[in-house]
Symmetry: C2
Subunit: 330 residues, 2 copies
């Protein structure tokens, strides 16, 4: 294992301390229990958005805490669910009196822990469960479809609505609608390596790819020979299109997400391939995002995410956002 | 070689087309000769900043084209200098009548080609040469020190000055002063792989690191056993400190730059290590940047960059910037 770390047990804490120091104008990090919150929280009378999950997917979720997006994020150990005490502490810190919306990726551990936190929470609260990964039903850590990079789109757009004053029910309804309008699929060229494990999560041949991989290196649909970028994009968009059923003439958000070790040059090349395929199907790529936003440590590969858009969603996507990892407007 | 590409010869073109499509609100890409320019260029009466160099370092330089930073960038093939015709075409497209400032990383090919372009240019022009890499004198592609991630700092701060109306002489003087106030050093844990080469640029053992590596995988100071993050940060900051000589009580910009395959988690951990060492030396980390900004394709590792700051440099760093890869303010 080759990593820029000190002791394996200190990776999360030291990384979060670096994150807090680098972005002290935007966020603060609390320890024991661990959560990331906006530097100026709570925001009075605004629905508080809280997400979280295992670490190793940075910038998800801590990198999306800030104006126009999340109020707090609860990082677990690498690829390990955070615990209810973290969620309760985060809720206590950021609830501005308009209730708490938990945005939870569909993994069994995350779902269970966020449910336990919700049961203990006295204030008003609701939950949006993301399950945008169209690759497989039921997986290593999941019952049903997995929640992956589409979660970023949900957090951005619901975050904008909450900032604009939407109430808890409206935020939840918007999040559910967005999740249903969003599909993703990934491909891995190499494995990731979890620091505490000390070696690769899975073995893969020099000429192979894992099509439909999960963001923890979970198996996808099939292990096949590495194909050309155009063919990979076509297979992924085909699967997403099958699940989402966008109609010719519709506007979409196209999001190419790197898993961590794939150069930006290749991500833009994948965007080029995917955007042309969208055009071929009569879809207008009205908005786009390219970069490492939902990673799997040092895995090489990427995912494609498509969200069906309308005027309201575009307006909310364009609204100002001011977080460590996503920043525009204002 | 495992890459998300189609034909090797089409990598740059397809990637640039994806880049142009994803950021059509900010930039446009011209082909034959190839350059990236602001979507709205030239800017009348503003000094035009043009940079360029081999591709494979994305987002450098095309990702820094936009308001408050570069006016144009000339990408060569991967790790290959762009040619004078690209620079002349870019200058023609973005010169707003106040002259052109070329920002050139110190590599023999880049220096030669930008000099040829400058000789052919009839309008007023000047050059800033960056050579912030303190690791070695003279290297595979360089006479003298190499220009690396510190170039981003030069482009940001001189870009802000140009936007505020500084004339060509002032922009050049500021760039030269910034370069002298900036030092960098890198470490590689793995090699990069150039698409056209088809295999790793260099071999490195499972327990080794290349200390002082260049951004094309050039040899650094020594090949040694992989050390802990704290020890790596200490060695790199020691070398930078030796070259820059910052005094106790000074403010600095601390920039942790990922080479492409190192997770954000590790980059923040390195920031934590480096920021503590700065504090130990009495330096105030007044501004910071953490992420993949000057990459070496899929190389694992990172560089540290330190810039000695003053009130003017801080104000220019904080000024609005609106590019694909760096965006704040406004």
């Amino acid at each position: 294992m080759k990593k820029l770390i000190n002791a394996v047990d200190d990776v999360l804490k030291e990384s979060l301390e670096g994150f807090a120091a680098a972005h002290h104008d935007l966020v603060r990090v609390s320890h024991e229990p661990t959560y990331v919150a906006r530097a100026h929280a709570p925001v009075k009378d605004k629905v508080a958005l809280i997400s979280g999950g295992g670490s190793g997917h940075e910038p998800l979720h801590g990198g999306f805490v800030g104006y126009g997006m999340l109020d707090a994020a609860c990082p677990g150990q690498v690829f390990t669910s955070p615990t209810p005490d973290q969620m309760l502490a985060a809720a206590g810190a950021v609830d501005g009196g308009a209730g708490v919306l938990f945005i939870v990726k569909n993994y069994t551990g995350d779902v269970m822990n966020f449910e336990m936190a919700a049961e203990m929470l006295t204030g008003e609260h609701a939950r949006v469960l993301t399950n945008d990964d169209v690759a497989v039903e039921d997986s290593t850590y999941t019952s049903g479809r997995r929640g992956v990079a589409g979660t970023v789109v949900v957090e951005k757009i619901v975050g904008a609505a909450a900032e604009a004053g939407a109430d808890l029910a409206a935020c939840k309804a918007l999040g559910d609608r967005l999740n249903a309008a969003t599909g993703s699929m990934g491909v891995a060229l190499t494995s990731c390596t979890v620091p505490a494990a000390g070696g690769p999560t899975f073995q893969i041949g020099d000429d192979e790819m894992e099509m439909g991989v999960g963001i923890h290196g979970e198996p996808g649909r099939k292990r096949v020979r590495l194909a050309a970028a155009d063919a990979i994009a076509e297979e992924m968009l085909g699967a997403i299109g099958h699940a989402l059923g966008p109609k010719s003439g519709e506007r979409v958000l196209l999001f190419v997400n790197g898993f961590g070790a794939t150069p930006l040059m290749e991500l833009y090349l994948m965007f080029h391939a995917a955007a042309r395929l969208c055009a071929d199907r009569g879809l207008t790529v009205a908005r786009s995002l390219v970069g490492n936003y939902t990673t799997s440590l040092d895995m090489a590969g990427c995912s494609l995410t498509v969200t069906r858009l309308d005027d309201q969603l575009i307006e909310l996507w364009d609204a100002p956002v001011h977080t460590p990892a996503l920043r525009w407007g204002r």
